[in-house]
């Protein structure tokens, strides 16, 4: 629901990095978004495309990699899918499980000329 404000933060970071590295045309912006980050990729792309006009990122394509929600069991070390409700480790039954990925929201890299 707040993809526009996220797109604004994202564009700010991209333009800062472009200026810092002395590039004038950003062609790709690669971001990683966790499945649990409450960010809708299509809405983020829509918002980013709206606000990038007239900037060094005007022609940049937003490439979104979705990171799955995964968990790890502290008892046996097994990894598991955490996209649904997981009460216990499917391998050993322990409840001592922790989310290991799925909440990411970061700019991985940009490509520029």
């Amino acid at each position: 629901m707040h993809e526009l404000s996220i797109a604004q933060s994202l564009l700010g970071i991209v333009l800062q990095e472009a200026a810092r590295h002395g590039v004038s045309r950003v062609t790709k912006v690669a971001v990683k978004i966790g499945a649990l980050a409450s960010v809708v990729p299509s809405s983020l792309t829509f918002s980013f495309d709206l606000i990038k006009e007239g900037t060094a990122a005007a022609e940049a394509v937003l490439e979104i990699e979705q990171v799955p929600a995964m968990g790890v069991c502290h008892a046996c070390g097994a990894e598991m899918d955490m996209s649904g409700l997981v009460a216990a480790c499917p391998a050993c039954g322990s409840r001592d499980i922790e989310l290991s990925s799925g909440q990411e929201l970061y700019v991985d890299h940009i490509e520029a000329e």
Partner: protein, 216 residues
């Protein structure tokens, strides 16, 4: 063509503000709660009942987030507690710059507890750290027992869950055990209080826990 490694959190500006607030709150000895629920779950009623029962034993203040109006700040101020209203003018959550402005109106040194009542929304507020010590989720039983599994982010992140309006349970199809089971699965360490602001049920336990947490 060159590839530039970035590796920066998109919400880093908000995060660094939140980190600054957190240090400031700790220095001033203020515990901070971020109260989150859907609209109408009873956040402001819980504040009124909580402040009434604390009866001045803790130095409290409230930051109220709403899209429009200062009605909630007026309700809290009527309890004799400083209340700062933030009107987000449409924004679906509170963020660092809004809290920064609100903090200018508060004397943190005189406080033990600051409660931030976020904009009514089960999704967006969860992503924006405000420097709080703990998120408190409020779910009213009339919203349905499926809400924790449909909106997992909040119920996973909240240190405390207040299940409100339990006086209505006899009249609706809501399975309280399902709410408890789902939330325990998401967050086994979560403290859960079943309450009714209307009858007062459960409020004594919640306020006793809150008081000892603030002093602890």
């Amino acid at each position: 063509m060159s590839e530039i490694e970035v590796g920066r959190n998109i919400l880093e500006a908000n995060q660094s503000m939140a980190d600054r607030f957190r240090r400031r709150f700790a220095e001033q000895g203020v515990k901070v709660l971020n109260l989150i629920s859907s609209p109408g779950a009873g956040k402001t009623s819980i504040l009124e009942q909580t402040l009434k029962r604390l009866d001045g034993r803790l130095g409290c203040a409230v930051i109220e987030g709403d899209i429009q109006t200062d009605e909630d700040a007026q309700r809290v101020a009527a309890c004799g507690v400083p209340a700062v209203q933030i009107q987000t003018q449409g924004a679906c959550h509170l963020d660092g710059p809004m809290i920064s402005e609100a903090l200018e109106a508060l004397d943190l040194a005189s406080l033990d507890l600051l409660i931030i009542e976020n904009v009514g929304n089960l999704v967006c507020p969860v992503d924006f750290d405000l420097g709080e010590d703990m998120k408190v989720a409020v779910l009213s039983v009339t919203e349905g027992d499926d809400k924790p599994s449909k909106y997992p982010a909040l119920f996973r992140a909240a240190g405390v869950l207040l299940v409100n309006k339990i006086d209505l349970l006899p009249y609706i199809d809501c399975d309280l055990d399902r709410i408890h089971d789902t939330c325990r699965t998401f967050n086994p360490k979560q403290k859960v209080f079943d309450i009714s602001c209307r009858t007062g049920e459960g409020l004594k336990d919640w306020v006793a826990w809150l008081e000892s947490w603030v002093r602890g």
